[in-house]
């Protein structure tokens, strides 16, 4: 019967797709975990890479702690968002280093700051992984003290802390 034949074909096509999907996701270096981290309350949302999460930068998961570091004054805040976002408002004294333009900009950044410079990266909060990516890039080029402020600019602004 036509219907039975169609159902059989659909099962084959879906089966091949699922098998292929899982195989490619397992083998690909860009594969993701089967279950991601999508709970805002638990931290930054992320699909999670399939491999282990070693080599992740340290996180600052409270705005108050970020403010304490800010008040100490020796920490450099680095804004991972686009130039546009940065222009519309940022943490006072923060340097703009859009993660999408890292390669073009890192040269002059390296000229200005020594590798031991304490750095805190941030972006648009817990729905945004750009600050993590930027932190990994900075660690890769030799900076030794890099942390991620995960609540980012929206978290900072919501507390009524100064912006510029």
């Amino acid at each position: 019967m036509v219907i039975r034949k169609t159902i059989k074909e659909i099962i084959i096509l879906v089966g091949v797709s699922v098998a292929l999907a899982l195989a490619v996701n397992t083998l690909s270096p860009r594969g993701i975990a089967l279950v991601g981290q999508w709970d805002i309350a638990a931290g930054v949302i992320t699909a999670r890479p399939a491999g282990d999460s070693a080599g992740q930068p340290k996180e600052i998961d409270s705005v108050a702690r970020a403010k304490t570091l800010f008040d100490k004054g020796d920490v450099l805040f680095v804004d991972a968002r686009s130039q546009n976002h940065y222009g519309n408002g940022h943490i006072p004294g923060a340097v703009s280093l859009p993660v999408g333009q890292f390669e073009e900009r890192i040269g002059s950044f390296l000229n200005h700051y020594p590798p031991e410079q304490p750095i805190v990266t941030y972006c648009s909060g817990r729905t945004c992984e750009d600050s993590h990516e930027l932190a990994r890039f900075l660690l890769d080029v030799g900076f030794t003290n890099v942390q991620v402020f995960i609540d980012g600019f929206p978290g900072w602004e919501a507390q009524g802390y100064p912006i510029e």
Partner: protein, 177 residues
């Protein structure tokens, strides 16, 4: 007066039948069927590639619709692109074309529902990230919705088509049409 009415009525009826004939000929036109298969096939393969290359970005887009349980977001992001790829490929080579079109139309109904729900409740997700802007998801929900409806109609032609399908995998073309 009654004569006019009855002529009008009959004319209308004839027109109705002609329209049906036209629909029939569209439905069973094998060139339209082949074109529809190629358009859907290429579109779905193309659409799947971005998502296959960066599953993490696609997962975030799935999250952004704010409709799916956290447990399933990654699985949806892993499997859907390959459903698109495999069915798109099946349509182009003509392997199980009706079944592939049924799967594609189920996917399209799913996309249309998701987009419509979020348009109606005014939900728009902006993570403020770089990756989202770079992955080629630039058109508005409205445009995507209309496009999906058109694809769905093309898919229906393939599903409802009765007759010999052109250039299908594993089946010789008939001598005469």
């Amino acid at each position: 007066m009654s004569r006019f009415l009855s002529t009008d009525f009959r004319a209308g009826k004839r027109k109705g039948i002609q329209l049906n004939k036209m629909q029939q000929s569209i439905k069973n036109n094998s060139w339209i069927e082949l074109t529809a298969r190629w358009i859907l096939g290429i579109t779905f393969i193309y659409a799947s590639l971005h998502k296959i290359i960066s599953p993490a970005d696609f997962a975030k887009i799935v999250y952004g619709y704010d409709l799916f349980p956290e447990m399933f977001i990654n699985l949806i992001a892993i499997v859907i692109p390959f459903l698109e790829l495999v069915t798109g490929f099946a349509l182009i080579i003509g392997l199980y074309p009706r079944s592939a079109a049924i799967i594609i139309n189920i996917l399209l109904l799913f996309f249309i529902t998701v987009l419509a729900i979020n348009l109606i409740r005014g939900h728009e997700f902006d993570c403020g990230c770089f990756s989202a802007g770079q992955s080629g998801y630039t058109s508005s929900s409205e445009v995507t919705l209309v496009r999906d409806v058109i694809y769905f109609i093309l898919g229906m032609q393939i599903v409802l088509f009765e007759g010999h399908r052109r250039s299908c995998f594993g089946r010789p073309a008939p001598r005469h049409q």
